[in-house]
Protein backbone atom coordinates (compact mmCIF):
# COMPACT_ATOMS: atom_id res chain seq x y z
CA UNK A 1 0.00 0.00 0.00
CA UNK A 2 2.66 2.43 1.08
CA UNK A 3 4.66 1.65 -2.00
CA UNK A 4 1.68 2.25 -4.28
CA UNK A 5 1.05 5.66 -2.76
CA UNK A 6 4.68 6.50 -3.26
CA UNK A 7 4.52 5.56 -6.88
CA UNK A 8 1.46 7.65 -7.54
CA UNK A 9 3.11 10.58 -5.88
CA UNK A 10 6.27 10.26 -7.90
CA UNK A 11 4.31 10.11 -11.16
CA UNK A 12 2.54 13.26 -10.26
CA UNK A 13 5.78 14.89 -9.33
CA UNK A 14 7.38 14.14 -12.66
CA UNK A 15 4.33 15.53 -14.46
CA UNK A 16 4.71 18.73 -12.58
CA UNK A 17 8.33 18.82 -13.54
CA UNK A 18 7.43 18.42 -17.20
CA UNK A 19 5.03 21.29 -16.97
CA UNK A 20 7.79 23.48 -15.71
CA UNK A 21 10.39 22.32 -18.16
CA UNK A 22 8.47 21.99 -21.40
CA UNK A 23 5.26 23.91 -21.30
CA UNK A 24 6.89 27.08 -20.13
CA UNK A 25 8.63 27.17 -23.49
CA UNK A 26 5.20 28.01 -24.78
CA UNK A 27 4.53 25.20 -27.23
CA UNK A 28 2.05 22.65 -26.07
CA UNK A 29 1.07 24.14 -22.79
CA UNK A 30 -1.83 22.31 -21.21
CA UNK A 31 -2.83 24.23 -18.15
CA UNK A 32 -6.31 22.77 -17.93
CA UNK A 33 -5.52 21.17 -14.57
CA UNK A 34 -4.49 24.44 -13.01
CA UNK A 35 -7.08 26.55 -14.81
CA UNK A 36 -9.69 28.93 -13.34
CA UNK A 37 -9.08 29.11 -9.60
CA UNK A 38 -12.66 30.34 -9.06
CA UNK A 39 -13.07 28.81 -5.62
CA UNK A 40 -9.86 27.41 -4.32
CA UNK A 41 -11.27 25.31 -1.51
CA UNK A 42 -13.86 23.74 -3.82
CA UNK A 43 -11.15 22.83 -6.23
CA UNK A 44 -9.00 21.38 -3.50
CA UNK A 45 -11.86 19.23 -2.21
CA UNK A 46 -12.65 17.98 -5.69
CA UNK A 47 -9.01 17.24 -6.23
CA UNK A 48 -8.57 15.18 -3.04
CA UNK A 49 -11.71 13.15 -3.60
CA UNK A 50 -10.63 12.52 -7.16
CA UNK A 51 -7.27 11.44 -5.88
CA UNK A 52 -8.81 8.95 -3.46
CA UNK A 53 -11.01 7.56 -6.16
CA UNK A 54 -8.14 7.29 -8.58
CA UNK A 55 -5.84 5.57 -6.11
CA UNK A 56 -8.65 3.09 -5.42
CA UNK A 57 -8.86 2.41 -9.15
CA UNK A 58 -5.11 1.97 -9.26
CA UNK A 59 -5.14 -0.45 -6.30
CA UNK A 60 -7.84 -2.51 -7.94
CA UNK A 61 -5.80 -2.64 -11.13
CA UNK A 62 -2.72 -3.77 -9.18
CA UNK A 63 -4.65 -6.44 -7.30
CA UNK A 64 -6.09 -7.81 -10.52
CA UNK A 65 -2.77 -7.96 -12.35
CA UNK A 66 -1.12 -9.58 -9.30
CA UNK A 67 -3.81 -12.23 -9.30
CA UNK A 68 -3.30 -13.01 -12.98
CA UNK A 69 0.47 -13.15 -12.54
CA UNK A 70 0.08 -15.59 -9.64
CA UNK A 71 -2.29 -17.81 -11.65
CA UNK A 72 0.19 -17.95 -14.53
CA UNK A 73 3.13 -18.80 -12.25
CA UNK A 74 1.30 -21.51 -10.36
CA UNK A 75 0.04 -23.14 -13.56
CA UNK A 76 3.57 -23.13 -14.90
CA UNK A 77 4.87 -24.72 -11.71
CA UNK A 78 2.11 -27.30 -11.71
CA UNK A 79 2.85 -28.33 -15.30
CA UNK A 80 6.53 -28.77 -14.42
CA UNK A 81 5.79 -30.87 -11.36
CA UNK A 82 3.22 -32.90 -13.30
CA UNK A 83 5.67 -33.58 -16.12
CA UNK A 84 8.54 -34.72 -13.92
CA UNK A 85 6.22 -36.51 -11.50
CA UNK A 86 4.59 -38.51 -14.30
CA UNK A 87 7.98 -39.26 -15.81
CA UNK A 88 9.33 -40.46 -12.47
CA UNK A 89 6.26 -42.60 -11.82
CA UNK A 90 6.30 -44.01 -15.35
CA UNK A 91 9.97 -44.89 -15.00
CA UNK A 92 9.76 -46.48 -11.56
CA UNK A 93 6.65 -48.49 -12.44
CA UNK A 94 8.16 -49.56 -15.76
CA UNK A 95 5.35 -48.04 -17.82
CA UNK A 96 8.06 -46.83 -20.16
CA UNK A 97 11.30 -48.46 -21.27
CA UNK A 98 13.76 -47.19 -18.68
CA UNK A 99 16.71 -48.06 -20.90
CA UNK A 100 15.47 -45.52 -23.44
CA UNK A 101 13.72 -42.88 -21.39
CA UNK A 102 15.37 -43.17 -17.94
CA UNK A 103 13.67 -41.08 -15.24
CA UNK A 104 14.37 -37.87 -13.27
CA UNK A 105 15.87 -39.29 -10.09
CA UNK A 106 18.30 -41.35 -12.17
CA UNK A 107 19.25 -38.23 -14.11
CA UNK A 108 19.85 -36.26 -10.92
CA UNK A 109 21.88 -39.11 -9.49
CA UNK A 110 23.99 -39.22 -12.66
CA UNK A 111 24.50 -35.44 -12.57
CA UNK A 112 25.43 -35.50 -8.89
CA UNK A 113 27.98 -38.27 -9.38
CA UNK A 114 29.62 -36.64 -12.39
CA UNK A 115 29.63 -33.33 -10.56
CA UNK A 116 31.45 -34.92 -7.63
CA UNK A 117 33.97 -36.86 -9.72
CA UNK A 118 34.71 -33.61 -11.55
CA UNK A 119 33.81 -34.74 -15.06
CA UNK A 120 30.62 -32.75 -15.58
CA UNK A 121 31.92 -29.21 -15.16
CA UNK A 122 34.79 -29.44 -17.67
CA UNK A 123 32.37 -30.75 -20.32
CA UNK A 124 29.91 -27.95 -19.55
CA UNK A 125 32.69 -25.34 -19.49
CA UNK A 126 34.02 -26.38 -22.91
CA UNK A 127 30.57 -26.19 -24.48
CA UNK A 128 29.71 -22.87 -22.86
CA UNK A 129 33.02 -21.40 -23.98
CA UNK A 130 32.52 -22.60 -27.55
CA UNK A 131 29.00 -21.23 -27.62
CA UNK A 132 30.01 -17.83 -26.23
CA UNK A 133 32.84 -17.55 -28.74
CA UNK A 134 30.41 -18.62 -31.46
CA UNK A 135 27.69 -16.07 -30.83
CA UNK A 136 29.97 -13.15 -30.02
CA UNK A 137 32.27 -13.78 -32.98
CA UNK A 138 29.29 -14.56 -35.22
CA UNK A 139 27.61 -11.27 -34.38
CA UNK A 140 30.81 -9.25 -34.77
CA UNK A 141 31.80 -10.93 -38.01
CA UNK A 142 28.28 -10.64 -39.44
CA UNK A 143 28.17 -6.95 -38.54
CA UNK A 144 31.58 -6.41 -40.12
CA UNK A 145 30.49 -8.09 -43.36
CA UNK A 146 27.26 -6.08 -43.34
CA UNK A 147 29.35 -2.91 -42.98
CA UNK A 148 31.46 -4.02 -45.95
CA UNK A 149 28.34 -4.56 -48.06
CA UNK A 150 27.02 -1.14 -47.04
CA UNK A 151 30.32 0.50 -47.83
CA UNK A 152 30.67 -1.09 -51.27
CA UNK A 153 27.26 -1.31 -52.96
CA UNK A 154 28.94 -3.06 -55.88
CA UNK A 155 30.13 -5.87 -53.61
CA UNK A 156 26.63 -6.05 -52.19
CA UNK A 157 25.05 -6.48 -55.62
CA UNK A 158 27.63 -9.04 -56.70
CA UNK A 159 27.34 -11.14 -53.54
CA UNK A 160 23.55 -11.03 -53.35
CA UNK A 161 22.76 -14.40 -55.06
CA UNK A 162 25.61 -16.13 -53.21
CA UNK A 163 24.29 -14.91 -49.89
CA UNK A 164 20.81 -16.13 -50.77
CA UNK A 165 22.16 -19.61 -51.60
CA UNK A 166 24.32 -19.74 -48.47
CA UNK A 167 21.43 -18.59 -46.33
CA UNK A 168 19.08 -21.22 -47.75
CA UNK A 169 21.59 -24.00 -47.15
CA UNK A 170 21.59 -26.05 -43.94
CA UNK A 171 25.00 -24.77 -42.83
CA UNK A 172 25.71 -27.63 -40.43
CA UNK A 173 26.01 -29.80 -43.53
CA UNK A 174 29.33 -28.05 -44.08
CA UNK A 175 30.62 -29.58 -40.82
CA UNK A 176 32.68 -32.35 -42.48
CA UNK A 177 34.39 -29.76 -44.66
CA UNK A 178 35.42 -27.75 -41.60
CA UNK A 179 36.81 -30.86 -39.94
CA UNK A 180 38.86 -31.63 -43.02
CA UNK A 181 39.94 -28.01 -43.30
CA UNK A 182 40.74 -27.19 -39.68
CA UNK A 183 41.36 -30.62 -38.32
CA UNK A 184 39.15 -32.17 -35.64
CA UNK A 185 38.84 -29.98 -32.56
CA UNK A 186 37.96 -26.53 -31.35
CA UNK A 187 38.56 -24.69 -34.65
CA UNK A 188 36.23 -26.96 -36.58
CA UNK A 189 33.50 -26.56 -33.96
CA UNK A 190 33.80 -22.77 -33.89
CA UNK A 191 33.79 -22.73 -37.69
CA UNK A 192 30.60 -24.80 -37.76
CA UNK A 193 29.03 -22.42 -35.26
CA UNK A 194 30.07 -19.36 -37.25
CA UNK A 195 28.67 -20.88 -40.43
CA UNK A 196 25.30 -21.07 -38.67
CA UNK A 197 25.36 -17.53 -37.26
CA UNK A 198 27.29 -15.29 -39.65
CA UNK A 199 25.16 -15.39 -42.80
CA UNK A 200 21.85 -14.65 -41.14
CA UNK A 201 23.50 -11.95 -39.01
CA UNK A 202 24.96 -10.34 -42.12
CA UNK A 203 21.64 -10.37 -43.94
CA UNK A 204 19.52 -8.99 -41.12
CA UNK A 205 21.98 -6.28 -40.09
CA UNK A 206 22.67 -5.24 -43.68
CA UNK A 207 18.92 -4.93 -44.23
CA UNK A 208 18.69 -2.77 -41.12
CA UNK A 209 21.56 -0.59 -42.40
CA UNK A 210 19.61 0.02 -45.59
CA UNK A 211 16.45 0.92 -43.72
CA UNK A 212 18.10 3.85 -41.95
CA UNK A 213 16.05 6.95 -42.76
CA UNK A 214 17.70 8.85 -45.61
CA UNK A 215 16.96 12.08 -43.73
CA UNK A 216 19.55 11.25 -41.05
CA UNK A 217 22.12 10.48 -43.71
CA UNK A 218 21.28 13.76 -45.40
CA UNK A 219 21.95 15.68 -42.18
CA UNK A 220 25.49 14.29 -42.06
CA UNK A 221 26.08 14.87 -45.79
CA UNK A 222 24.91 18.47 -45.50
CA UNK A 223 27.59 19.12 -42.90
CA UNK A 224 30.16 17.73 -45.33
CA UNK A 225 30.44 14.44 -43.43
CA UNK A 226 32.46 11.59 -44.91
CA UNK A 227 31.19 8.09 -45.57
CA UNK A 228 32.95 6.86 -42.45
CA UNK A 229 31.27 9.61 -40.41
CA UNK A 230 27.91 8.66 -41.88
CA UNK A 231 28.51 5.08 -40.79
CA UNK A 232 29.83 5.99 -37.38
CA UNK A 233 27.27 8.68 -36.50
CA UNK A 234 24.12 7.44 -38.20
CA UNK A 235 24.14 3.91 -39.62
CA UNK A 236 25.72 2.15 -36.64
CA UNK A 237 23.89 3.90 -33.77
CA UNK A 238 20.56 3.73 -35.58
CA UNK A 239 21.00 -0.03 -36.08
CA UNK A 240 22.38 -0.64 -32.61
CA UNK A 241 19.19 -2.14 -31.19
CA UNK A 242 19.01 -4.61 -34.09
CA UNK A 243 22.62 -5.65 -33.61
CA UNK A 244 22.04 -6.36 -29.93
CA UNK A 245 18.82 -8.23 -30.73
CA UNK A 246 20.77 -10.31 -33.24
CA UNK A 247 23.22 -11.19 -30.47
CA UNK A 248 20.29 -12.71 -28.63
CA UNK A 249 19.12 -14.73 -31.64
CA UNK A 250 22.68 -15.91 -32.18
CA UNK A 251 22.82 -17.43 -28.69
CA UNK A 252 20.21 -19.94 -29.84
CA UNK A 253 21.86 -20.53 -33.20
CA UNK A 254 25.30 -20.92 -31.65
CA UNK A 255 24.03 -23.79 -29.49
CA UNK A 256 22.93 -25.62 -32.65
CA UNK A 257 26.34 -25.12 -34.24
CA UNK A 258 28.29 -26.14 -31.15
CA UNK A 259 26.29 -29.27 -30.38
CA UNK A 260 26.40 -30.46 -33.99
CA UNK A 261 30.10 -29.63 -34.11
CA UNK A 262 30.67 -31.68 -30.96
CA UNK A 263 28.61 -34.54 -32.41
CA UNK A 264 30.94 -34.60 -35.39
CA UNK A 265 34.33 -34.15 -33.79
CA UNK A 266 35.07 -33.84 -30.13
CA UNK A 267 36.50 -35.50 -27.11
CA UNK A 268 34.72 -33.21 -24.68
CA UNK A 269 31.63 -31.06 -24.27
CA UNK A 270 27.95 -31.70 -23.69
CA UNK A 271 27.42 -32.62 -27.35
CA UNK A 272 30.17 -35.21 -27.00
CA UNK A 273 28.48 -36.58 -23.85
CA UNK A 274 25.21 -36.97 -25.74
CA UNK A 275 26.83 -38.85 -28.61
CA UNK A 276 28.89 -40.94 -26.19
CA UNK A 277 25.78 -41.84 -24.15
CA UNK A 278 24.00 -42.74 -27.35
CA UNK A 279 26.86 -44.99 -28.51
CA UNK A 280 27.07 -46.90 -25.22
CA UNK A 281 23.27 -46.91 -25.09
CA UNK A 282 23.19 -45.11 -21.76
CA UNK A 283 20.28 -42.72 -22.17
CA UNK A 284 20.67 -41.45 -18.64
CA UNK A 285 23.84 -39.70 -19.85
CA UNK A 286 22.05 -38.39 -22.94
CA UNK A 287 19.07 -37.01 -21.08
CA UNK A 288 21.05 -35.58 -18.17
CA UNK A 289 23.27 -33.74 -20.65
CA UNK A 290 20.15 -32.41 -22.33
CA UNK A 291 18.96 -31.19 -18.94
CA UNK A 292 22.23 -29.35 -18.38
CA UNK A 293 22.01 -27.80 -21.86
CA UNK A 294 18.47 -26.60 -21.17
CA UNK A 295 19.56 -24.91 -17.94
CA UNK A 296 22.80 -23.42 -19.22
CA UNK A 297 21.26 -22.22 -22.50
CA UNK A 298 18.44 -20.53 -20.62
CA UNK A 299 20.85 -18.81 -18.25
CA UNK A 300 22.99 -17.64 -21.15
CA UNK A 301 19.96 -16.33 -23.04
CA UNK A 302 18.74 -14.46 -19.96
CA UNK A 303 22.14 -12.88 -19.43
CA UNK A 304 22.23 -11.64 -23.01
CA UNK A 305 18.62 -10.47 -22.78
CA UNK A 306 19.48 -8.51 -19.62
CA UNK A 307 22.49 -7.06 -21.43
CA UNK A 308 20.23 -6.04 -24.32
CA UNK A 309 17.82 -4.46 -21.86
CA UNK A 310 20.62 -2.43 -20.30
CA UNK A 311 22.19 -1.33 -23.56
CA UNK A 312 18.97 -0.20 -25.19
CA UNK A 313 17.25 1.26 -22.14
CA UNK A 314 17.90 4.85 -23.09
CA UNK A 315 16.62 4.42 -26.63
CA UNK A 316 13.47 2.51 -25.73
CA UNK A 317 12.11 5.54 -23.94
CA UNK A 318 11.36 7.13 -27.31
Amino acid sequence: MGREKGRMKSTKHSDGYDDQGISREGDDADHSVHASPSSKSDQARLFTSNEDWMSALYRRHLARSRKTAWAVRSTQGLLLILFFGLWEAAGRNRWIDVLLFSYPSKLLDQLWRTLLDGSLLPHTGVTVMETAVGFVLGTLLGTAIAALLWWFPFVSRVSDPYLVVLNSMPKVALGPLFIVGFGPGLMAIVATTLSVTVIITTLSIYNRFREVDAGYVKVVRLFGGTRWQTFRHVILPDSFATIVATLKVNVGLAWVGVIVGEFLTSKSGLGYLIIYGFQVFNFTIVLSSLLVIAVVATVMYQIVAALEHRLTRRRRER
Partner: protein
Protein backbone atom coordinates in the same frame (compact mmCIF):
# COMPACT_ATOMS: atom_id res chain seq x y z
CA UNK B 1 26.56 44.80 -54.93
CA UNK B 2 27.99 41.44 -55.86
CA UNK B 3 25.42 38.69 -55.34
CA UNK B 4 26.20 36.10 -52.68
CA UNK B 5 24.37 33.27 -54.39
CA UNK B 6 24.05 32.90 -58.11
CA UNK B 7 22.44 30.48 -60.52
CA UNK B 8 23.63 30.93 -64.12
CA UNK B 9 21.72 29.15 -66.87
CA UNK B 10 21.19 26.13 -64.69
CA UNK B 11 19.65 23.03 -66.22
CA UNK B 12 19.18 19.88 -64.22
CA UNK B 13 18.21 16.48 -65.56
CA UNK B 14 17.30 13.47 -63.44
CA UNK B 15 18.50 10.31 -65.13
CA UNK B 16 16.98 7.05 -64.00
CA UNK B 17 15.87 3.67 -65.28
CA UNK B 18 12.71 5.28 -66.67
CA UNK B 19 14.67 7.72 -68.78
CA UNK B 20 16.03 11.24 -68.50
CA UNK B 21 13.76 13.88 -67.03
CA UNK B 22 14.21 17.60 -67.36
CA UNK B 23 13.74 18.90 -63.83
CA UNK B 24 14.65 22.57 -64.13
CA UNK B 25 15.60 24.63 -67.14
CA UNK B 26 17.24 27.98 -67.76
CA UNK B 27 17.42 29.11 -64.17
CA UNK B 28 19.04 32.49 -63.69
CA UNK B 29 18.90 33.95 -60.23
CA UNK B 30 21.06 36.10 -58.05
CA UNK B 31 20.56 36.60 -54.35
CA UNK B 32 22.43 39.28 -52.49
CA UNK B 33 23.72 39.09 -48.94
CA UNK B 34 21.09 39.38 -46.23
CA UNK B 35 18.15 38.79 -48.55
CA UNK B 36 15.26 36.50 -47.71
CA UNK B 37 13.98 34.76 -50.84
CA UNK B 38 11.06 32.36 -51.12
CA UNK B 39 10.47 29.84 -53.86
CA UNK B 40 6.86 28.88 -54.43
CA UNK B 41 5.22 26.82 -57.11
CA UNK B 42 3.17 23.74 -57.84
CA UNK B 43 4.60 20.32 -56.97
CA UNK B 44 7.03 19.19 -59.62
CA UNK B 45 8.31 22.71 -60.30
CA UNK B 46 11.74 21.80 -58.99
CA UNK B 47 11.72 23.81 -55.77
CA UNK B 48 13.60 21.18 -53.84
CA UNK B 49 15.90 20.56 -56.81
CA UNK B 50 16.94 24.21 -56.70
CA UNK B 51 17.62 23.91 -52.98
CA UNK B 52 19.66 20.74 -53.47
CA UNK B 53 21.67 22.49 -56.19
CA UNK B 54 22.36 25.42 -53.88
CA UNK B 55 23.31 23.03 -51.08
CA UNK B 56 25.78 21.19 -53.29
CA UNK B 57 23.87 17.93 -52.88
CA UNK B 58 23.27 17.91 -56.63
CA UNK B 59 25.52 19.22 -59.38
CA UNK B 60 23.79 20.95 -62.29
CA UNK B 61 23.82 19.13 -65.61
CA UNK B 62 24.53 22.46 -67.25
CA UNK B 63 25.20 25.95 -65.97
CA UNK B 64 26.78 27.14 -62.77
CA UNK B 65 25.84 27.53 -59.15
CA UNK B 66 28.04 30.01 -57.31
CA UNK B 67 28.52 31.25 -53.80
CA UNK B 68 30.67 34.34 -53.42
CA UNK B 69 31.77 33.83 -57.03
CA UNK B 70 32.95 30.26 -56.37
CA UNK B 71 31.36 27.21 -57.91
CA UNK B 72 29.54 24.98 -55.42
CA UNK B 73 30.72 21.41 -55.85
CA UNK B 74 29.80 19.78 -52.58
CA UNK B 75 28.03 20.66 -49.34
CA UNK B 76 30.04 23.24 -47.46
CA UNK B 77 30.01 24.96 -44.11
CA UNK B 78 29.01 28.21 -45.81
CA UNK B 79 25.57 26.83 -46.51
CA UNK B 80 23.18 25.52 -43.89
CA UNK B 81 20.16 23.41 -44.74
CA UNK B 82 17.07 22.98 -42.63
CA UNK B 83 14.99 19.97 -43.54
CA UNK B 84 11.23 19.46 -43.56
CA UNK B 85 11.53 17.23 -40.50
CA UNK B 86 13.94 17.85 -37.66
CA UNK B 87 15.84 14.55 -38.04
CA UNK B 88 17.36 14.89 -34.59
CA UNK B 89 19.35 11.79 -33.72
CA UNK B 90 17.28 10.03 -31.06
CA UNK B 91 20.39 8.65 -29.35
CA UNK B 92 21.97 12.06 -28.80
CA UNK B 93 21.05 14.70 -26.26
CA UNK B 94 19.83 18.09 -27.45
CA UNK B 95 23.24 19.68 -27.02
CA UNK B 96 24.95 16.79 -28.80
CA UNK B 97 22.43 17.07 -31.62
CA UNK B 98 23.01 20.78 -31.97
CA UNK B 99 26.79 20.33 -32.05
CA UNK B 100 26.83 17.49 -34.59
CA UNK B 101 27.85 19.86 -37.41
CA UNK B 102 30.83 21.10 -35.40
CA UNK B 103 31.77 17.53 -34.55
CA UNK B 104 31.60 16.40 -38.17
CA UNK B 105 33.79 19.25 -39.35
CA UNK B 106 36.25 18.80 -36.49
CA UNK B 107 35.42 22.13 -34.89
CA UNK B 108 33.86 20.95 -31.64
CA UNK B 109 35.92 23.23 -29.45
CA UNK B 110 34.95 24.72 -26.10
CA UNK B 111 34.29 27.95 -27.97
CA UNK B 112 32.02 26.21 -30.48
CA UNK B 113 30.07 24.49 -27.73
CA UNK B 114 29.66 27.78 -25.89
CA UNK B 115 28.29 29.34 -29.07
CA UNK B 116 25.79 26.49 -29.52
CA UNK B 117 24.74 26.88 -25.89
CA UNK B 118 24.05 30.55 -26.46
CA UNK B 119 22.08 29.69 -29.62
CA UNK B 120 19.98 27.17 -27.70
CA UNK B 121 19.43 29.74 -25.02
CA UNK B 122 18.28 32.37 -27.50
CA UNK B 123 15.91 29.88 -29.09
CA UNK B 124 14.36 29.22 -25.67
CA UNK B 125 15.98 25.81 -25.26
CA UNK B 126 18.46 26.72 -22.56
CA UNK B 127 17.06 24.26 -20.04
CA UNK B 128 16.56 21.44 -22.53
CA UNK B 129 20.17 20.90 -23.56
CA UNK B 130 20.67 17.68 -21.62
CA UNK B 131 17.29 16.24 -22.56
CA UNK B 132 16.69 13.66 -25.25
CA UNK B 133 14.77 14.51 -28.44
CA UNK B 134 11.77 12.31 -27.59
CA UNK B 135 11.10 14.49 -24.55
CA UNK B 136 10.51 17.56 -26.72
CA UNK B 137 7.49 18.76 -28.66
CA UNK B 138 7.55 19.17 -32.44
CA UNK B 139 8.09 22.91 -32.27
CA UNK B 140 10.98 22.56 -29.83
CA UNK B 141 12.57 19.88 -31.96
CA UNK B 142 12.43 22.07 -35.03
CA UNK B 143 14.08 24.85 -33.01
CA UNK B 144 16.88 22.45 -32.09
CA UNK B 145 17.22 21.69 -35.80
CA UNK B 146 17.56 25.44 -36.41
CA UNK B 147 20.26 25.68 -33.74
CA UNK B 148 22.03 22.69 -35.32
CA UNK B 149 21.99 24.44 -38.71
CA UNK B 150 23.19 27.77 -37.28
CA UNK B 151 25.89 26.13 -35.14
CA UNK B 152 28.39 25.94 -38.00
CA UNK B 153 27.77 29.64 -38.73
CA UNK B 154 26.71 29.33 -42.37
CA UNK B 155 26.28 32.46 -44.47
CA UNK B 156 23.25 31.12 -46.26
CA UNK B 157 20.32 29.19 -44.85
CA UNK B 158 18.27 26.94 -47.07
CA UNK B 159 14.88 26.22 -45.56
CA UNK B 160 13.05 23.26 -47.08
CA UNK B 161 9.46 23.63 -45.85
CA UNK B 162 10.68 23.58 -42.25
CA UNK B 163 7.31 24.57 -40.82
CA UNK B 164 5.04 22.31 -42.84
CA UNK B 165 4.77 19.54 -40.27
CA UNK B 166 3.82 21.81 -37.37
CA UNK B 167 0.51 22.96 -35.93
CA UNK B 168 -0.60 26.38 -37.12
CA UNK B 169 0.00 28.24 -33.87
CA UNK B 170 3.50 26.83 -33.40
CA UNK B 171 4.23 27.37 -37.06
CA UNK B 172 3.42 31.09 -36.75
CA UNK B 173 5.54 31.41 -33.60
CA UNK B 174 8.42 29.63 -35.26
CA UNK B 175 8.17 31.76 -38.41
CA UNK B 176 8.67 34.83 -36.24
CA UNK B 177 11.52 33.24 -34.32
CA UNK B 178 13.37 32.06 -37.42
CA UNK B 179 12.85 35.38 -39.15
CA UNK B 180 14.08 37.33 -36.15
CA UNK B 181 17.08 35.07 -35.62
CA UNK B 182 18.17 35.16 -39.26
CA UNK B 183 17.66 38.90 -39.44
CA UNK B 184 19.68 39.58 -36.30
CA UNK B 185 22.54 37.35 -37.49
CA UNK B 186 22.40 38.96 -40.94
CA UNK B 187 21.96 35.62 -42.71
CA UNK B 188 20.84 35.13 -46.28
CA UNK B 189 17.91 32.74 -46.61
CA UNK B 190 16.15 30.76 -49.31
CA UNK B 191 12.82 29.31 -48.23
CA UNK B 192 10.97 26.67 -50.18
CA UNK B 193 7.31 26.43 -49.30
CA UNK B 194 3.92 25.57 -50.70
CA UNK B 195 2.30 28.05 -48.35
CA UNK B 196 1.92 31.34 -50.21
CA UNK B 197 1.00 33.27 -47.07
CA UNK B 198 4.15 32.06 -45.34
CA UNK B 199 6.24 33.09 -48.35
CA UNK B 200 4.64 36.54 -48.52
CA UNK B 201 4.93 37.12 -44.78
CA UNK B 202 8.54 36.04 -44.36
CA UNK B 203 10.44 37.08 -47.43
CA UNK B 204 11.77 40.13 -49.22
CA UNK B 205 11.22 38.54 -52.59
CA UNK B 206 8.93 35.73 -53.68
CA UNK B 207 9.90 33.79 -56.77
CA UNK B 208 7.15 31.90 -58.54
CA UNK B 209 8.18 28.77 -60.38
CA UNK B 210 6.31 26.93 -63.12
CA UNK B 211 6.60 23.23 -63.78
CA UNK B 212 7.35 20.81 -66.62
CA UNK B 213 10.09 21.73 -66.72
CA UNK B 214 10.73 23.79 -63.61
CA UNK B 215 11.51 27.39 -64.50
CA UNK B 216 11.18 30.86 -63.05
CA UNK B 217 7.84 32.41 -63.93
CA UNK B 218 8.16 35.72 -62.18
CA UNK B 219 9.32 37.45 -59.03
CA UNK B 220 7.51 39.71 -56.59
CA UNK B 221 9.32 42.14 -54.34
CA UNK B 222 7.41 42.70 -51.13
CA UNK B 223 6.70 46.27 -50.07
CA UNK B 224 9.34 47.78 -47.79
CA UNK B 225 7.09 47.94 -44.72
CA UNK B 226 6.14 44.29 -44.96
CA UNK B 227 9.79 43.28 -45.27
CA UNK B 228 10.66 45.10 -42.09
CA UNK B 229 7.82 43.58 -40.09
CA UNK B 230 7.75 40.28 -38.24
CA UNK B 231 5.92 37.61 -40.26
CA UNK B 232 2.90 37.67 -37.96
CA UNK B 233 2.74 41.45 -38.30
CA UNK B 234 3.32 41.31 -42.04
CA UNK B 235 0.29 39.04 -42.28
CA UNK B 236 -1.80 41.89 -40.83
CA UNK B 237 -0.28 44.54 -43.07
CA UNK B 238 -2.77 46.27 -45.43
CA UNK B 239 -0.89 45.22 -48.56
CA UNK B 240 -0.50 41.59 -47.46
CA UNK B 241 -3.75 40.40 -49.03
CA UNK B 242 -2.95 42.23 -52.24
CA UNK B 243 0.48 40.62 -52.54
CA UNK B 244 -1.01 37.25 -51.70
CA UNK B 245 -3.62 37.64 -54.47
CA UNK B 246 -0.97 38.68 -56.99
CA UNK B 247 1.14 35.60 -56.26
CA UNK B 248 -1.92 33.39 -56.28
CA UNK B 249 -3.06 34.72 -59.68
CA UNK B 250 0.36 34.28 -61.19
CA UNK B 251 0.56 30.75 -59.88
CA UNK B 252 -2.87 29.94 -61.30
CA UNK B 253 -2.09 31.40 -64.73
CA UNK B 254 1.27 29.65 -64.93
CA UNK B 255 -0.37 26.46 -63.89
CA UNK B 256 -2.99 26.38 -66.64
CA UNK B 257 -0.75 27.59 -69.45
CA UNK B 258 0.81 25.27 -71.99
CA UNK B 259 0.37 22.00 -70.16
CA UNK B 260 -2.42 19.50 -69.85
CA UNK B 261 -4.24 19.66 -66.55
CA UNK B 262 -4.12 15.89 -66.29
CA UNK B 263 -0.37 15.75 -66.69
CA UNK B 264 1.34 13.61 -64.12
CA UNK B 265 3.17 15.32 -61.30
CA UNK B 266 6.87 14.78 -61.53
CA UNK B 267 7.68 15.58 -57.97
Amino acid sequence: MKPLLELRGVIHVYVGDQGANLAVEGLDLSISRGQFISLVGPSGCGKTTVLSLLAGLLLPAKGEVLIDGETIRRPSAKIGYMLQQDYLFPWRSILDNATIGLELSGRKTAEGIAYVRSLLHELGLGEAESRMPYELSGGMRQRVALARTLATEPEVLLLDEPFSSLDLQIKLQLEDLVWKTLRSLGKTAVLVTHDLAEAAAMSDTVIVLARNPGRILTRFDMPEEMRAALPTEARRHPSFQHMYDLIWEKLESGHGKGEGADEIDKA
